[in-house]
Amino acid sequence: MGRYAIRRLLQLVPVVLGTTFIINYMVWQLPGDPFAGRCGQRPCPDSYVAAMRDQFGLDQPLLVQYWNFLKNLLTGNLGVNFNGVSVASELGDAWPITIRLALMAVLFEAVIGIGAGVLSGLKRGGFIDNVVTISTLFLLSLPIFVTGYLLQWLLGVQLGVITPTVTDEATVPELIVPALVLASLNMAFTARLTRTSIVENLRADYVRTAVAKGLSNRRVVAIHLLRNSLIPVLTFLGTEVGSLMSGAIITEGIFNIHGIGGLLWRAILDQDYTVVVPVATLLVLVYLLANLLVDLLYGVLDPRIRYE
């Protein structure tokens, strides 16, 4: 286990380097003017572009630039945005909100998704199963922003149950609907995954043995079936924590939540790449680390898996 963890960690190094290199390369090196948004509607004066190229070291060799980028990232020097506010302090304000939103979303996914999946898997072909299959199909084909605008309009504008946008504090009750929107897609995946897993395990020998031993139905399901069926579901939920962070870009934009996603959404619209690059890099790191943790957790959850 220890050796496996170290090997996975080492394997992560080239992936992290490669991914951050891709981000860095694409933002600064591809054709297109990274400073185009800085001067409003008119093109930037040449002297300004030259000064900026110098400040960001764009005339240095590619690898030197990348090295500086890594060094700044590791020392926490994330630079300042257009308005001269430090990106690190903006991130500091935004993190707690996004983490709250993502945790709430995962909670919804787990409770609603697993609940629906178990109910439909236990009675395959029954009424609940059909309802779950059809509703997950619809959830899967609704792009997240459609769900977002729909709920915002229906609950916020028409019915007045929620405020259409979230305040600066982003309290837990305010975040319920945005978290549901963020969770909607993965909720459907979770429900389907749970259902498949339950259906597969229902046929397993150990379930038959448990029933033959004379255990009550409830005990067979809760102790024997669920514990085995939920392993793939838990790993799925874990992997998705990372991608939820980037899914939050859309949700936070729609509900005007001042989290990481909202920060990124506004930076894109303002073409403020000094914010986009570090924030995107951090999100990618979170995503990769979440994947690593899930991989390691897999062995703990499922003792049949051996790392060699």
Binding site: G18, M26, L30, A36, F145, Y149, L150, I250, W265, Y287
Partner: protein, 315 residues
């Protein structure tokens, strides 16, 4: 039901290459024959097929569905609610929402299909190469794939599109479509690469491949005649669903202002343009959103029907 010839073409297109290596023409049943027998009994397959035909017709001949000009704007009618005159009402510029929704189908479907094709070509090719030649080529392709998988979808697209076609720039119609297609394929190929790679690795050591090699077949022949047809089933299933998700992704990028943009007519742009008028003119946003969701639903349903029919585990 609606259009049996189109279906047969769909199935046949996949059938041709598969039938030859298995060499069971006539008497025995092939995978594709079985699949078709299961498919034609499924209601969900026929429903999605009808919807697919409607959307394809809409993309090819929008004038069959509306006689109005999607570009024609009457500012006096700006944001007018739906009426008998205009079923879906008018948008911010006083253009007919229904006509624009109909004309939007073409862009979305072109982007979805071409991006999927590019993904299949790129991912399939790299996957087969990695699996067939193995060793260092496999290692390189797999690692590069991991790097691209490390970029979550929206994030990766934001980074690339934000530089190549920033929010305030104004690239041409064809350029921006091409760029969006390339970006979607660039971020999507590793998943397909993995599917093709594992399918080929499984097939590589089968007896019939060994036999072909013993008979002196070269790598090209083995790959195209024997290995590729075997990875076709999972690729077909994945790519059908991918068309749907790419259509959704295109709309998401347009919403962010870095994907397609005017004068292209697309559902995503219509949604983005009217997102801030949700209180006064919800119809201008929700009708294109409805078209978009139905179109994604069509491909997701079709993909699921095909997967259920192809996957022997569920039989």
């Amino acid at each position: 039901m609606s259009d049996p010839t189109a279906t047969q073409d769909l199935i046949k297109g996949a059938d041709e290459p598969a039938a030859s290596p298995v060499a069971v023409r006539g008497g025995q049943r092939s995978l594709w024959r079985d699949t078709w027998d299961i498919l034609k009994r499924r209601k969900i397959f026929w429903i999605s097929l009808v919807m697919l035909v409607v959307f394809l017709l809409m993309a090819a001949f929008p004038s069959l569905f509306t006689h109005k000009d999607p570009e024609y704007a009457t500012l006096a009618k700006s944001m007018e609610l739906p009426s008998a005159d205009a079923w879906f009402g008018y948008d911010l510029q006083g253009r007919d929402v229904y006509a624009r929704a109909v004309y939007g189908a073409r862009t979305s479907i072109i982007v979805g299909v071409l991006a999927t094709l590019a993904t299949v070509l790129l991912g399939g090719l790299t996957g087969v190469l990695a699996a067939y030649f193995g060793r260092w080529l496999d290692a390189i392709i797999s690692r590069v794939g991991e790097m691209f998988l490390g970029l979550p979808y929206v994030l990766g697209a934001i980074i690339i599109l934000g530089t190549v076609a920033p929010a305030q720039s104004n690239p041409g119609k064809a350029t921006i479509m091409a760029v969006v297609i390339i970006v979607l394929a660039l971020l999507g190929w590793p998943i397909l690469m993995r599917i093709a790679r594992s399918a080929v690795i499984q097939a590589k050591h089968q007896d019939y491949v060994q036999a072909a090699r013993a008979l002196g077949a070269g790598p090209l022949r083995i790959i195209f005649k024997h290995l590729l047809p075997n990875s076709l089933a999972p690729i077909l299933v994945y790519s059908t669903i991918t068309i749907g998700s790419y259509i959704g992704a295109e709309a998401t990028l347009s919403l962010l202002g870095i994907g397609l943009r005017s004068p292209v007519i697309s559902w995503g742009i219509a949604i983005a343009d009217h997102a801030s008028y949700i209180r006064t003119a919800p119809h201008a946003m929700f009708f294109p959103a409805g078209f978009l969701s139905l179109c994604v639903l069509t491909f997701v349903m079709l993909g699921e029907a095909v997967r259920d029919a192809l996957d022997p585990k569920l039989r």
